[in-house]
Amino acid sequence: MSEVNSASETVIGRIVRVNGPIVEAEGMGMAGMHDVVEVGDRRLIGEIIRLRNGVATIQVYENTSEMRPGEGVVGTGRPLSVCLGPGLLGTIYDGVQRPLERIAQASGSAVIPRGIKVPPVDMGRTWHFVPSATVGEPLGPGQVFGTVQETVSMAHRLMVPPDMTEGMLTDLLPEGDYGGDTALGHVTTAAGAVQLLGFYHYWPVRRPRPVRARLPLEQPLLTGLRVIDTFFPLPKGGAAAIPGGFGTGKTMTQQALAKWSDAQIIVYIGCGERGNEMTEVLREFPELTDPRNGRSLMERTILIANTSNMPVAAREVSIYTGITMAEYYRDMGYDVAIMADSTSRWAEALRELSGRLEEMPVDEGFPAYLPARLAGFYERAGHVTALGGGQGSVSIIGAVSPPGGDFSEPVTQHTSRFIRCFWALDRDLANARHYPAISWKSSYSEYLPDMGTWWTQRDAEWLHDRSTLMGILQEESSLQRIAKLVGNDALPDSQQLILHVAEIIKNAFLQQNSFDATDMYCSPEKQVWMLRLLAGLARRAMALIRNGCVLSDIERMDGMERLMRMKSEIANGDSQGMAALEQQVNDGLERLERSLSR
């Protein structure tokens, strides 16, 4: 972090032990807990995680190979913090906010050289500042004093840092282009202290940014994935977990959410996962356009990449780095969604560091404070009134990678205590390449009643239609057990119809092809339409069977094949196409109904 450089450069201690990423140093009586230090001759970044009799235990965020006892430790007197201000969007960082693109340029190397120091934002860049506060007026923490256009679609509101004291705005620069390190104005407190306002301020990653009030969650985070929006909705400001074994599509689902969810800012954290996945995001996002404003998706995205081969301590801190940035944009009044892939790797980093600290483990080697840390992270989600008065939200979507796909392991179990939306990925669905492989049997959303209010404003029958489909899917899974023993054909027509309709729901509604230009994103209007069509079909078909209609007549009804392909063959805005299909299906049903009553 750049301010580390400007801090006092005195050697405050000496290394006495090196054990992988954990280093012990003596003579550290002056240092504080969670202070950032620079360790050894290469001045690697580390954080103090234990202080005992003047001996500090330091977790080092870079590889400690060839470091020796006797080398010095430089203190900074500050906790681990991120730099907040314009220029974060569209950037890819490592876990301790080092900009990976500029590291590549500065080092001229494809690998990350140890000890390299590059400021998190380009201070040489100028920004067009537009003041919005009045000199001579009082100004308090969180209040906006000016804006810059950070990207074409995103106005960046400059706020008084939350840890500043309220006072009088004594001066403020007029509109103009200024460099990143310009002093923009000053706030003088009642006590006479003069505080500087700039483009940037620092905030400790482990401390949640304060808010004025927490608000109820009422707006759904629309993701364009039908199984989520219609079946297991997540509100803006909510927290969800996606647990799934390897190959069940956690990353694919996370990436789809990052692409299509209607948050204004996305923070995507690749935490202990594959390097190529981050490369894929980097390659793909600039080319994709936001369906809402036609701008490149990268303009609203911050990437944090701490891949599995990068140092484990930096992996531990990466999710805090990400959530702090998310909170910063929330405070400006934006809806932010944060994807953490995967929280299990973060928990494993905790376990590894805990093991090296020789702490007493509880289940599966994880430390006793794992649930507390998980709770602390997920509680940073929320819909709030910010200090400055605006409203914003942070939604958290955490992937979980349970060993062997077994959801009874500690990380999945503890996580499910702190989230209210559980999107369980299913191995059998993934094997059949049914994506998203979100199981309708074991997933849930406790937010459903609140979200239902939003949806019923679009279609009064929404909750009823949704429970019709859910009911059929539940009934199908119990019928499947019998069908597996006796075969579908041995079941009565009414039960065969359930199996048949469930199959239609799975293929025509739940399954979504992320490579199909139309089906990759499904608008809420189209979802409402599809849901109504399927629920109506299911109810009327069941009535037909009860009145003696033959199943195969329903199966071969007009419009069925088009219904199966509506997700990809009818475009999102094409209400005429949907209406025509609805008409066709209804006509078909009516014909059958008439033929029966005759």
């Binding site: 060839e66 006892p69 890819i92 494809a110 990350i112 490369t279 599995s308 062997g404 390449r433 490579f515």
Partner: protein
């Protein structure tokens, strides 16, 4: 700063593969150590934990016959390095890069730290060049691309070695005449396995493009910790300094993990699952992630690790953690092997994550993604219908289900199964795929577009197609 070369006499404790040394000054973490036994024999070691006056060292040659008193220890001032260079192709080395073929050390070789450095994710190039292996089960259903890490999950007695050798023999890019250089690492496998690969490379005439690092079953287990890293260090040099396309075959990762567990246990570390250390994931990742492509550079590293799943259990920590890091997996299935199907690739649990960007228009053929998706979906239905047929008998199935049964058989016998020396082009493979899909009724093929069905399904005579019910 300590001058390298200072020698200490005597070690304090010896425990398993570790020696504990006291009374030293200024050793570095991960530093290379030379241990001289009383009889003059020299072994190398690495510092695992160091304080101001003591160090824990893992001895790569094993601790056998080390005596606490008569042993001398010298710290060499740097981490373990191995020689790298193009001249190492065609040669055989031990796990730490010393010649094992009786020839002198390679000429003009540079030395590199075996640990490598993490590649900046920004500098990576996304892999998307289709590699044709000539094996339908891979090319059609689990496509390999250049720069991918795709392991083979196998079991004892399954033909993973033959499959890996066949891939090494047949792998090539469409429209490009570049041969792969092969770096082969063997950890804890038997002599005959190493000999099998040597002979296979010899017979296909690629031996001068192969570098082998062997740490076999009777070599000290600690050396296995280094072997894959040595191989990958050479591969990185060949790919990113010399611009070559390198295929790295590593066998058997299970033996590597056991060596890691052995050392962790000797250090009294807190175990996580099945006694493996909590950092097994990070440790495996530090090797698997050394694959891929670099922006603006010619070469690539494609990694194919082989691991035998203990008791064929895919949820065992080794395959489980591997699957979380690698970009898919090729799973071999014992049932299919017993039925005589070669290669016995289990279609449903196998996966290639990079396939989506390496196939289809401009890579293989436009219809490839949908054909693969349709085959997966149909074959997964076959599995359900087979379970049903086992209960009620195949005769009782409805006509469509009977077609699925037929599809399943033909898919396994005509698409998946092929000869060990049979090299199919992607065109041939796709045609085979369509041939078995035509067994099914047209209405069942929801994952194929109307256009594709017209072009490929409707072309054959009606006798080939499934009769609509």
């Amino acid at each position: 700063m300590k001058m390298p070369g200072l020698e200490y006499r005597g070690v304090k404790n010896i425990d398993g593969p570790l020696v504990f040394i006291d009374g030293i000054h200024g050793a570095a973490y991960d530093e290379l150590v030379e241990i001289t036994l009383g009889n003059g024999e020299r072994r190398l070691g690495q510092v695992l934990d160091v304080t101001t006056s003591s160090a824990v060292v893992q001895v790569l040659g094993g601790t056998e016959s080390i005596q606490p008193a008569g042993t001398r220890v010298r710290f060499l001032g740097h981490a373990l390095q191995i020689p790298v260079g193009k001249s190492m192709l065609g040669r055989v080395f031990d796990g730490i890069g010393r010649p094992k073929d009786g020839l002198p050390p390679p000429l003009g070789a540079r030395r590199r730290d075996v640990n490598g450095s993490p590649v900046n994710p920004f500098s990576r190039e996304y892999p998307r060049d289709f590699i044709q292996t000539g094996i339908s089960a891979i090319d059609l259903m689990n496509t390999l691309v250049r720069g991918q890490k795709l392991p083979i999950f196998s079991g004892n007695g399954l033909p993973h070695d033959r499959l890996a050798a066949q891939i090494a023999r047949q792998a090539r890019l469409l429209n490009e005449d570049v041969e792969f250089a092969i770096v082969f690492a063997a950890m804890g496998v038997k002599h005959d396995v190493a000999r099998f690969f040597l002979r296979s490379f010899e017979e296909s005439g690629v031996l001068d493009k192969v570098a082998m690092f062997l740490s076999l079953a009777d070599d000290p287990s600690v050396e296995r910790m280094i072997t894959p890293r040595s191989a990958l260090t050479l591969a990185e040099h060949l790919a990113f300094d010399e611009g070559m396309h390198v295929l790295v075959i590593i066998t058997d990762m299970s033996n590597y993990c056991e060596a890691l567990r052995e050392i962790a246990t000797a250090r009294d570390e807190i175990p996580s699952r099945k006694g493996y250390p909590g950092y097994l994931y990070s440790d495996l990742a530090s090797m698997y992630e050394r694959a891929g492509r670099i922006r603006g550079q010619e070469g690539s590293i494609t990694q194919m690790p082989i691991l035998t799943m203990p008791n064929d259990d895919i949820s065992h920590p080794i395959p489980d953690l591997t699957g979380y890091i690698t970009e898919g997996q090729i799973v071999l299935e014992r049932d299919m092997h017993q039925q005589g199907v070669y290669p016995p690739v289990a279609s449903l649990p196998s996966l290639s994550r990079l396939m989506k960007d390496g196939i289809g228009k401009g890579h293989t053929r436009d219809d490839h993604p949908h054909v693969a998706s349709q085959l997966f979906s149909a074959y997964s239905k076959v599995k359900d219908i087979r379970a049903l047929a086992a209960v009620i008998g195949e005769e009782e199935l409805n006509p469509v289900d009977k077609l699925y049964m037929q599809f399943g058989r033909e898919f396994e016998q005509k698409v998946i199964a092929q000869g060990e020396f049979e090299n199919r082009s992607i065109e041939q493979t796709l045609e085979l795929g369509w041939k078995v899909l035509r067994i099914l009724p047209r209405v069942e093929l929801l994952r194929l577009s109307e256009e594709e069905l017209r072009q490929h399904y409707d072309v054959a005579g009606p006798e080939e197609k499934g009769a609509a019910p």
